[in-house]
Each structure stands twice: as structure tokens, then as C-alpha cells.
């Protein structure tokens, strides 16, 4: 029998539907992988093998009864621990929410369960989704299943913030996982681990029940082994939600049905400003490969300009912390989560003690930055200015899309780095998102697909950015690359 954990979403769903194997067999196989890898990779904060089996049994029973199994029928997935799940600890990888079990289910996770998916567990992440390496998690960092080919066995970052998701999918602990992307948190970890991930247009997926980082940027999306699996899962996750005022009130297109790698008549924009001085040679080469592949698929390549690109990262690091500083004010020890009440403490003391103990260093740093940029006297110089930059970046894209249909760029400036390498230099860490952040600020759909390995044997990702609501164009270009890149590499199992 085939190793069921080598199968992706579509293959599992179709296999279960056909009766090649049962959903319970699939769940058991992944449960076993999750358990076996936990000590080495630390991808999950909480494993929920029973929930996976329960969901699988329900699917098998449905099949026996001849009922429809759903778009994700029989597919067990990992859930980033930023999504509220009923009765299952939801922490955002923070101490302040340790032990918090919601009485409600996030809209996106509920849609996945309704479509027949089951939950293998809650995936580790950077604390409150703030980080690019998973090193800010209170529950210890995730370790990438990938290793450099230098024999050094350095522990590598799985990317962040969806690092548990990326590690788990690439290590075959789950066929797919949810991610969230605020400034690259789906795309960068996908690139670091040789998997595919898409951040849809802002508003496609409801934010209801997702622990908020930066409300105007946060977007959920799927992370899986290939473009088709992402399309299937995104169709399940997306859709208007009256409980989220920023949710898009638009029908969800049939992306899967309309997937096509034929790029004839399509123009692909190559942004001049992304080709930076001192760019990693392997990254530059993979970008050139991507250009060649899309040309081969029939696309016309055009050079475009996104002139305000260099202001995107600074603007992002004002807007996102500003919103976060306010969004995280609710973690105060009053109603739920951690409460640190020293002897004789008054309310202010309780706040201070609770938040000092409950938040990690990176979260505190961003709360401080955000509080600062919103302060009286600084607001206009920082927040207002950053919002103006944000508008200019949107205009850049709008102008560019008069000349092209999609934009091709690297996902990240480098392959995965070693854990600890950037941890003392936040600015260097923030630079990881330099290519990802502009699309986030503009709310555009963007995905990362594996493009190959660098000289160290580590995966590199290519990013496709699309027009608002044009996930189809993004997925199609991604498919064209996927078919030509022929990326089949996977980490050698060492755990």
C-alpha cells in the first residue's frame, strides 16, 4: 500500500471517495507522523489525534451511507494555533493565552470541518504571529525538517509566522494546513520549506475567530504541497461572513475548475525595484528561471516599476505594530488567560505583571513601537505618514496592473536561515519580509510556489502577486511554474 502521508489534499479526498483507503486509515497515518516528529520538530502546540479520528469516522460513515463527503472529505489538516477552536486550547503561541479554550469556532476552521476536514492539532507559530522564524513562540521554536547539504545539521528556521504549518506540511505531518499572512507569514515559510501557500485578497477569508495581530492586514490562507491543493482548500476557507465587517461580500469563484497553466495572452510584470543590490545569487537565478518558465507557458514578460517599494517595509512596521498595540490590549488578566496578581497589587499592578509575564520580547517590542507611533505628537509623523505610503503602494500596484496581469518576484531574499542567526537583530529579521510586505499593504492576493533548491540544498520560493480578487490569475501562474519547476524535493527524514 502507498504511504498515505505522501498524498496531498486532492489525492486523499479522491482516494477516500473511491474507497482506495478509509479516512480513518489516513488520519491514523498522519497521527503517527505527528507523534513521531513532535520532539524533533515541535511543529504542534497541541496534537488532537482523537479529533482527527472522530472526523475521519464521520466521513467513512457518510461514505457508507452514500452521502456526499465534501470538498475536503477525509482530509486531516493542521490548524495554525491562531484560529479559535471549540474546546481546544488556542494560544497564539503566547503564555498569556496558555490554557485558553474557546467556546467558539473560527469561521474559517468551521468551514473546513463542514467540508469534511479533520483536525490533527494546533500548529506552532510565532507568538501572536509576530516573527519570521518561529523563534518567538512561547512553546519553543519549530525546527525545519530541512537541512543544509553541508553536513552541518544546523537547525534551520521553518519561516514565520506560520512555521508550524510549513514544517508540518513539508515533513508530511499533514497534507495541508491553515496559515495566516499579515506581512508574509504564509508565503515566506512556504518558500523556506518547499511548499505552496496563498494569501488571498484581503477580506476573502473571514477573520472572525482568528486571534488578531494587525486587523487591516491579517488574512487566512491555505498551505499545501501544490497549487491544486491550495485552490481546493481556499475555496473551502473563503466566503462572505456577516460577522466580519471587512469580509468581501462576493461569491467564491470555482478556482479549481478554472485552473489552467496556459499563460498565452497574459502579461507577467517583473518589478525593477525588487532587483536589489547584493541580491542572493541563487535567489536571482530562481527568479530568472521563473521568468523563463512563464515565458515558456506563453506569457509575455514586461518590466514594471513599483517606485515606492523601499518605503513598504518601514510603513508596514508602523501600521502593523500600531494596530497590534491596540488589538493586544484585551489581554489584561481581567477576563481570561493569564492573570498575575502579586500580593497587594492594584489594577495597574495586575496589568503590568500579567502583561510582563504573558507576552514575549518580540510582542512587547511591537506593542511599544505601536504605542509610540500612535502617541500624541508622533501620530502624524508616523501613523499618518505610513498610511500615506500605504496608499502610494496601492497606487503603484494599480498602475503596474495596467501593464500586466500578474507580477513575479522572489518570495524571500534568501533561503531558510539557521535558528538564532537573526534573533538578536530585529531589523535583519524584518528584512525577510521585504518582498512579501508590499502585497500585504495593498491587500492583494499573492502566493509562493517552490522554484527549486539553492546550492545549499534548501528550497527557494517564487512569489506571484495578482490584482484584487484575481486569485485565479495567481493560481494559474503558480500552476504554470509548478509544472515547469518539477519540484519534487523533500527533506530527508532525520527525526
Amino acid at each position: 500500500m502507498t504511504d498515505l502521508t505522501e498524498l496531498g489534499v486532492a489525492a486523499i479526498r479522491d482516494g477516500v471517495a473511491k474507497g482506495d483507503f478509509t479516512a480513518v486509515e489516513v488520519a491514523e497515518a498522519f497521527n503517527a507522523n505527528v507523534a513521531a516528529a513532535q520532539d524533533a520538530l515541535n511543529a504542534f502546540i497541541v496534537a488532537t489525534p482523537d479529533a482527527a479520528i472522530e472526523a475521519a469516522k464521520a466521513i467513512d460513515a457518510k461514505r457508507a451511507a452514500g452521502e456526499a463527503l465534501g470538498k475536503m472529505g477525509g482530509v486531516p489538516i493542521g490548524m495554525k494555533d491562531l484560529f479559535a477552536t471549540v474546546g481546544v486550547q488556542t494560544t497564539a503561541a503566547s503564555h498569556i493565552l496558555e490554557g485558553f479554550k474557546p467556546e467558539y469556532e473560527s469561521t474559517v476552521s468551521q468551514k473546513l470541518w463542514d467540508a469534511g476536514a479533520g483536525m490533527l492539532g494546533k500548529l506552532n507559530l510565532d507568538q501572536f504571529a509576530m516573527g519570521s522564524s518561529n523563534e518567538t513562540s512561547y512553546f519553543g521554536n519549530v525546527i525545519s525538517p530541512w537541512r543544509r547539504n553541508d553536513g552541518g545539521n544546523a537547525a534551520l528556521a521553518p519561516g514565520g509566522s506560520s512555521g508550524g504549518s510549513s514544517a508540518a506540511v513539508s515533513a508530511r505531518l499533514c497534507p495541508a494546513a491553515t496559515g495566516t499572512d499579515t506581512g508574509g507569514s504564509i508565503r515566506q515559510p512556504a518558500a523556506f520549506t518547499g511548499i505552496t501557500g496563498i494569501k488571498p485578497t484581503y477580506g476573502r477569508c473571514s477573520r472572525w475567530g482568528i486571534v488578531a495581530f494587525a486587523s487591516s492586514l491579517d488574512q487566512a490562507g491555505p498551505m499545501a504541497r501544490d497549487v491544486t491543493d491550495c485552490a481546493i482548500m481556499l475555496e473551502t476557507m473563503a466566503g462572505f461572513d456577516p460577522k466580519d465587517s471587512t469580509s468581501l461580500d462576493m461569491p467564491v469563484p470555482e478556482w479549481t475548475v478554472n485552473l489552467s497553466a496556459d499563460m498565452k495572452g497574459k502579461k507577467v510584470g517583473i518589478p525593477r525595484e525588487y532587483r536589489m543590490d547584493g541580491m542572493d545569487e541563487d535567489v536571482a537565478k530562481s527568479w530568472d528561471d521563473g521568468i523563463a518558465w512563464l515565458k515558456d507557458a506563453g506569457a509575455e514578460i514586461v518590466e514594471i516599476s513599483l517606485p515606492h517599494t523601499k518605503y513598504a517595509l518601514p510603513a508596514y512596521y508602523i501600521v502593523a505594530p500600531a494596530e497590534a498595540s491596540s488589538n493586544l490590549a484585551r489581554y489584561d488578566g481581567v477576563r481570561y488567560g493569564l492573570r498575575d496578581l502579586p500580593d497587594g497589587a492594584n489594577l495597574q499592578d495586575m496589568y503590568a505583571a500579567t502583561r510582563a509575564a504573558g507576552f514575549g520580547a518580540e510582542v512587547k517590542r511591537r506593542i511599544l513601537i505601536g504605542t509610540y507611533v500612535l502617541s500624541a505628537g508622533f501620530y502624524d509623523a508616523y501613523y499618518t505618514q505610513a498610511q500615506k505610503v500605504r496608499t502610494l503602494i496601492s497606487h503603484d500596484f494599480k498602475n503596474a496592473f495596467t501593464e500586466c496581469d500578474v507580477i513575479l518576484a522572489p518570495t524571500a531574499p534568501s533561503a531558510a536561515f539557521a535558528l538564532g542567526e537573526n534573533v538578536d537583530d530585529p531589523l535583519k529579521m524584518y528584512l525577510n519580509d521585504v518582498f512579501a510586505v508590499p502585497a500585504s499593504l495593498a491587500g492583494l492576493p499573492a502566493m509562493s510556489v517552490p522554484a527549486g533548491l539553492n546550492r545549499e540544498g534548501l528550497p527557494l520560493g517564487l512569489q506571484i502577486i495578482g490584482k484584487p480578487f484575481d486569485e485565479q490569475g495567481v493560481l494559474n501562474a503558480g500552476l504554470a511554474i509548478e509544472q515547469r519547476a518539477g519540484f519534487t524535493a523533500k527533506p530527508d527524514k532525520w527525526w
Partner: protein, 499 residues
């Protein structure tokens, strides 16, 4: 017009007042959640996941709250902003679960408007003043801390958390406690007409932050203080008086007014410092990224406008011009929406019973309502909506008076019984034998007897002692046991004595 002055040692001081009124929007559910808003519910029984600020919860604006705020804006002739936005006001407190209040700082829903106040109810036409309103914005209320439930801990009740408030910000246009009182009263009247706030100040549905400064007349504005959360018209007036005098004392003593937030103590009628500007929060306002800007289309605005009732000023003018009521009566009857509603029912029923136009019976009805029914209800401490006398029953009583079936004094007696028993006027008149005699034949016979028995007095009357007329009336009424229609008695007596 108002020349309220505080006499200081250095001369007269003028008081400058602005009010920020928080009015709870009448709606079934909260501003951004589906929780109920009823007053007096068990603590924490009206709290949704959103109100408790659970992780990942999001606000969704309640259309009804927006509608009510827009209607309120229209009622004060304000500019309605078709594009407005919600901002977050960030601060930590245990009654504020999100750690921020969703409010509107930069782009409020309602812009400039005004209301007209009357300073002398007896002379409304010549004592009006226009008070500018700078803006109305909508925002969330906070929860409530309870400090008396546990020896060392405070408890939090989140029932009010997220309830919709309108903050109605006046211009510093008021110059006396009386003007501020009239403004607050008028504002309450308008809100109750519109139905956007029930105006129950004792339940906290309406409360005012009072901004006060003093200056020598003609000089620029002085430094102001803000006295928070004053919850009755009387207290607002007291707070202003106390605060203005305090400021004059400070200034005349060579001191400076500190811009600060103060608290009003209803027990002493005085204000005390709560925090100064230096300790003021930096609220770090910024647009709420969970919410899109609020955009109102023309049809929504049309619906809001079409649903507005006749407003108090228009009603008062109509009562004066169409019903020919005195300005005082018109003012009293329109001062509260329930009174006006009651009066209009009474008027319609009375006109119907008399087969006349409402304008023909309006004076009788308004006088009776104000002097008779209000007087009686006042005495018993009953409010109009608890009155056992309904407009229909009142109209029946008025018809009996109009037809001469009962005398004015009997009518008072009947009303008293109606208030006690809730019975109909007609039944009471029958039961108590209060019907008066209006039959001219019967009255003539009694008059003849009285005149015959007092021939000497008739002589004196005819000789010029006209004061005796009252004696004849009294004798006739006595003979008829008080049931003679005094008007008919008068007429017949006059005719007989003239012959």
C-alpha cells in the same frame, strides 16, 4: 438676554458653559453586537463574545443605532455626514474589555446643528436663544465596576459594555445655569420625540459632562474645567453654579484655573478634582481597522427623514397658530412627547364627542388638562402615563361639562372619583346624582319662588343695590340643592329682575 453674573470682589464675571451629553441610543441590541440592552438585568447576563472582547471577536455595526443617531441629527437640523468613520480610543480599565472604546473622533456621523431654548416659559416668544451643537458621534459605553461585593476585590458587570451612546457636543454658547438646564431639558425633549433615547437620567440613559469657565464680560474665554457624568438637570445647574463660583474665588485670590477633569458630588452640590491635564490619558486615537468607513446612501437618509415625527418646536407653533392656545399652554403641552400625545388623543375624542373641530375645543381641553388633571395628578404624585383617567375618559368628562350636564364644581368632584376608581364620568354623575338642572321651566319656577319670598330685596335691587344679584343666585341654587345650571340661573334671574 441672560445677564447671569457672578458678583466677585473685582466686579462681575460671566460664566461660559458647554455640555457634552451622552445619550443611550434606544435599540434592542448593542452598537457592535447582538446582545440585549435592557436596564436592570442580572449582571453579565447581556454579554456577547464581542462585548467581552474574546480573542478574535469582531465588531459589526448595528444599523438601528446608526439610524437613530442620524434621525437625531436631522431633528437638530444638523449636517449629516454621509461618510464617517469609527476610531479607537485606547486606554486600560477593567470595565473596558477591549482596552479601547470604539468612538468617532476624526469623522463624526453628525456635524453642525443647533437647538432653540426658551428661557421664560410664560413668555416663550421673546426669550428664545439658539445653542449651537458642534457634533454628534456614536460610541460604545463601558461596563460597570462594583466595589461593594467583596472585601478586597472589585467585580465587573459588562451588561452596559458596548451599548450605543450618542455623544452630543454643544458649543460653549450657554451663559447661566438656567440656560444649561433649559438646553438639557430641551435636548431631552427632542430625543424623546425622535425616540432615539428614552431620556431616563436616573437610569443613566442620559448624562452630561459639564465644561465651565469664567471671564470678565467681553474678554476671551478663560481656562475651562470638565465635570464628568452629571446625571440630572438640577445637578448640572448646581455643578455649574458651584464650579463657576469656585473659579471666581480662585482667580480673585490670585490663582489660576487648572484645566482638569472634576467630579460632582450630589450630596454636597460641589465639585472636586479628579485628574489634571498632566495626568490625562493619551488615548492614541486611530481609525478602527476592524471596521470599514460608514457610508450612508440617499435612500437610507430619506427613510430616516421620513420617519421623523412632528418635533416640539413645530408642534408648539402649530398649537399656538392652529389651535389658538396660549404660548404657555402650548409650551407645557409640547414639553414632553407623552404629554403631547395624550393631549392630541384628548383633543380628538373631545372634538368627536362634541361634533366640533378640534380647534373649537382645544382651549377647553388644554385648560382642563393643565389645570385640572395635571393638578390632581401632581397632588397624588402620579405620572400621566399611570393616570387612571385616559384621554377617552377625559373627553367624556369634558363633553358633560360642555353640554352643561354637570357644573364646573361637580366636574372637579367627578374627576377626583375617576382618579380614585377609574370609573367613567357618566356613570359617576348618575351614581352620585351630580347632574345639574338646565331645564328653563324648572329653573324659572324656582326663581319665581325666590323673588316672591324676597320682595323687599327685589325692591332694593331695582333701586340700585345690584350687589344683591349674588344673593338671588345663591338662594336659587340653594333651593335647587346646588344642581341648577348657574349659567341658566343667571340668565333667568337677569331677565326677571329687569322686567
Amino acid at each position: 438676554m441672560s445677564t447671569y453674573r457672578i458678583q466677585g470682589a473685582t466686579g462681575d464675571w460671566e460664566v461660559v458653559i458647554g455640555l457634552e451629553v451622552h445619550a443611550q441610543v434606544t435599540s434592542q441590541s448593542k452598537l457592535f453586537s447582538g446582545s440585549a440592552t435592557a436596564f436592570g438585568a442580572e449582571p453579565n447576563s447581556q454579554v456577547s463574545l464581542v462585548d467581552a472582547a474574546m480573542p478574535g471577536m469582531l465588531p459589526v455595526p448595528n444599523r438601528e443605532c446608526i439610524r437613530q443617531a442620524v434621525r437625531t441629527g436631522m431633528a437638530i437640523n444638523a449636517q449629516i455626514n454621509k461618510w464617517s468613520r469609527f476610531d479607537r480610543k485606547n486606554y486600560f480599565y477593567a470595565d473596558l474589555p477591549q482596552g479601547y472604546q470604539i468612538s468617532q473622533l476624526y469623522h463624526p456621523l453628525v456635524g453642525e446643528g443647533s437647538i432653540e431654548i426658551v428661557l421664560d416659559e410664560k413668555n416663550p416668544e421673546n426669550s428664545t436663544k439658539t445653542i449651537g451643537i458642534e457634533r454628534i458621534h456614536v460610541e460604545q459605553d463601558a461596563g460597570k465596576l462594583m466595589h461593594d461585593q467583596h472585601p478586597t476585590m472589585s467585580y465587573v458587570d459588562l451588561n452596559r459594555s458596548g451599548v450605543a451612546l450618542m455623544e452630543i457636543v454643544s458649543r460653549p454658547d450657554m451663559r447661566s445655569p438656567a440656560e444649561a438646564g433649559a438646553y438639557l431639558t430641551k435636548l431631552r425633549t427632542i430625543l424623546r420625540y425622535v425616540g432615539s433615547c428614552d431620556g431616563n437620567m436616573d437610569q443613566g440613559s442620559m448624562r452630561a459632562d459639564v465644561n465651565v469657565s469664567v471671564r470678565k464680560p467681553g474678554e476671551p474665554f478663560g481656562t475651562r474645567t470638565e465635570t464628568k457624568n452629571v446625571n440630572s438637570v438640577r445637578f448640572v445647574m448646581q455643578a455649574i453654579e458651584h464650579e463657576a463660583n469656585r473659579q471666581v474665588d480662585v482667580l480673585e485670590g490670585g490663582g489660576k484655573i487648572v484645566q482638569e477633569t472634576r467630579l460632582f458630588d450630589p450630596n454636597t452640590g460641589s465639585t472636586r478634582s479628579m485628574r489634571s491635564k498632566e495626568d490625562a490619558h493619551d488615548y492614541r486615537y486611530f481609525p478602527d481597522p476592524d471596521l470599514l468607513p460608514l457610508e450612508l446612501d440617499d435612500s437610507f437618509l430619506e427613510d430616516c427623514r421620513a420617519s421623523l415625527p412632528e418635533l416640539p418646536d413645530a408642534k408648539r407653533h402649530r398649537y399656538e397658530s392652529d389651535l389658538d392656545l396660549s404660548p404657555y399652554n402650548a409650551g407645557v403641552l409640547t414639553a414632553d412627547v407623552d404629554t403631547a400625545r395624550w393631549f392630541e388623543l384628548l383633543l380628538a375624542e373631545t372634538a368627536k364627542a362634541a361634533g366640533k373641530q378640534p380647534a373649537e375645543v382645544a382651549k377647553q381641553a388644554s385648560n382642563w388638562l393643565i389645570s385640572e388633571l395635571f393638578g390632581a395628578l401632581n397632588k397624588s404624585g402620579t405620572s400621566l402615563d399611570e393616570s387612571p383617567v385616559t384621554p377617552e375618559k377625559g373627553a367624556e368628562l369634558l363633553a358633560l361639562i360642555a353640554r352643561g350636564t354637570i357644573s364646573g364644581s361637580a366636574a372637579k368632584q367627578v374627576l377626583e372619583i375617576m382618579l380614585e376608581t377609574g370609573d367613567d364620568a357618566g356613570a359617576i354623575v348618575e351614581r352620585e346624582g351630580l347632574k345639574q338642572e338646565s331645564d328653563t321651566g324648572a329653573i324659572e319656577a324656582e326663581v319665581d319662588k325666590v323673588l316672591a319670598a324676597n320682595a323687599d330685596k327685589v325692591e332694593q335691587y331695582k333701586a340700585g343695590k345690584e350687589a344683591l344679584f349674588g344673593f338671588f343666585v345663591g338662594q336659587t341654587m340653594k333651593a335647587m340643592k346646588g344642581k341648577g345650571n348657574p349659567q341658566v340661573v343667571n340668565e333667568i334671574l337677569k331677565a326677571k329682575l329687569a322686567s
